[in-house]
Subunit: 242 residues, 2 copies
């Protein structure tokens, strides 16, 4: 296995950081490298907000569901950014349309960039944790950060010196994800999920959490609509959908 494959394979989320600050130079190096991620037609539809203010960070801990690491280390908000595109259009006297395709572009662009960024930080000896809980109360986050039209906060990113050493979490088996030519029948998919449940029960049991598996967690997560405010929030930020 080459060093890149080793790095990718060794990823685990770090949720606890030491008090040692993240060096400014590390942030700049990591962001510069991350910007070289693929971007659809070079639109670069993302921005990275660094939040330092302690009061804002404390409020963000609450808004993201009480995750203490949001106030530790360095904290960033990964945004889909169509503002630059909007301003360019206005300057050229042209319309700017932000429909679902533009949303897919910004979310994809932002995530490709964010994954590069995570790897860049890890290569510098830092640990990372994405914060999807940023979307729990997204209008409040948006208001707190005073984001203008066209800038959509998507998720948070905590970065710091690791104060924890968890082992990587097992994933679905490779052949559940890498599919040849045609998507398999339901029975085949369910058999793979049963195998993964078995592995995950063992994984959780070894960590003092017996009786947990993957499918039960998934079912609980999606049985009710989640974050229903998002559709209207995206519209309020300039997405026309349709």
């Amino acid at each position: 296995m080459n060093p890149t494959l080793e790095h990718l394979s060794a990823h685990r989320t770090i949720r606890k950081f030491t008090a040692e600050p993240v060096a400014e130079e590390d942030v700049r190096q990591a962001v510069a490298a991350a910007q070289m991620a693929s971007t659809s037609s070079n639109i670069q539809a993302y921005s990275l907000l660094r939040i330092r203010d302690a009061q804002t960070r404390a409020r963000l801990v609450t808004l993201t569901g009480g995750q203490p690491q949001v106030a530790q280390g360095a904290f960033f908000v990964v945004c889909g950014d169509t503002r630059r595109h909007r301003l360019a259009a206005r300057q050229h006297g042209e319309e700017y349309v932000c429909n679902l395709e533009a949303v897919l572009l910004m979310v994809t662009d932002a995530a490709l960039f964010a994954q590069n960024l995570a790897l860049a930080f890890e290569s510098l000896g830092l640990g990372i944790c994405f914060i999807g809980g940023l979307r729990n109360q997204l209008p409040d986050v948006d208001h707190l950060l005073e984001l203008p039209e066209g800038v959509l906060p998507l998720f948070g990113l905590c970065v710091g010196h690791p104060d924890d050493d968890p082992s990587p979490r097992p994933r679905l088996e490779l052949d559940a994800v890498l599919i040849e030519e045609r998507y398999p029948e339901d029975a085949t998919v369910l058999a793979k999920l049963a195998g993964y449940d078995e592995r995950m029960r063992q994984y959780y049991a070894e960590r003092g959490n017996p009786g947990h598996d993957w499918t039960s967690g998934i079912v609980r997560k999606f049985r009710e609509p989640k974050r229903e405010h998002l559709f209207e929030f995206f519209r309020a930020k300039g997405v026309t959908w349709g």
Copy 2:
């Protein structure tokens, strides 16, 4: 600069591949490593379809806008996958809800995975090219690949032995993307875009394409609604939006 930062910084899209096939072992190694990308609450909401059939590939060249590299090297379709979640819910006798939040989860998860995958392939000496044109006629792609409800094709990925050696394309300046605390005023953003336009005019001119800049391309891209079929297509595939 450490080797990871060097790798990230050196990325360029490869659009032309030699006839040398991509080794099966390389694909399996790359996918296994890519699976270790962060995934929201471990939902792993993606699948990777490998398309080998020559007729299907030829049809995909047409459907993606005539990009010949889709028929070269190895071709993959990166899918947002909620099918596993749906089947688990059905088995547990529970509802499954796929709203905008679930779409954001699947697109983010798929892109984090895809960026890892791209880097893994590059580390093996291969070149990659994402194909957003897969969404040009997405219902036709979906029909061609016979994808079931809950599996959303998002973009393509071409992988092969490079038969081209382009230089990396300059990105927005770092401080246009890395923002401290609060999003800047419009005038500040526009000044940065003017600087980038200047750099890009030079970049294009040096490559025999004088008169091109960044903002003009962006304005052309977004002045009319793009891929308007997507909203209904996602609904037909099981997304309730709202």
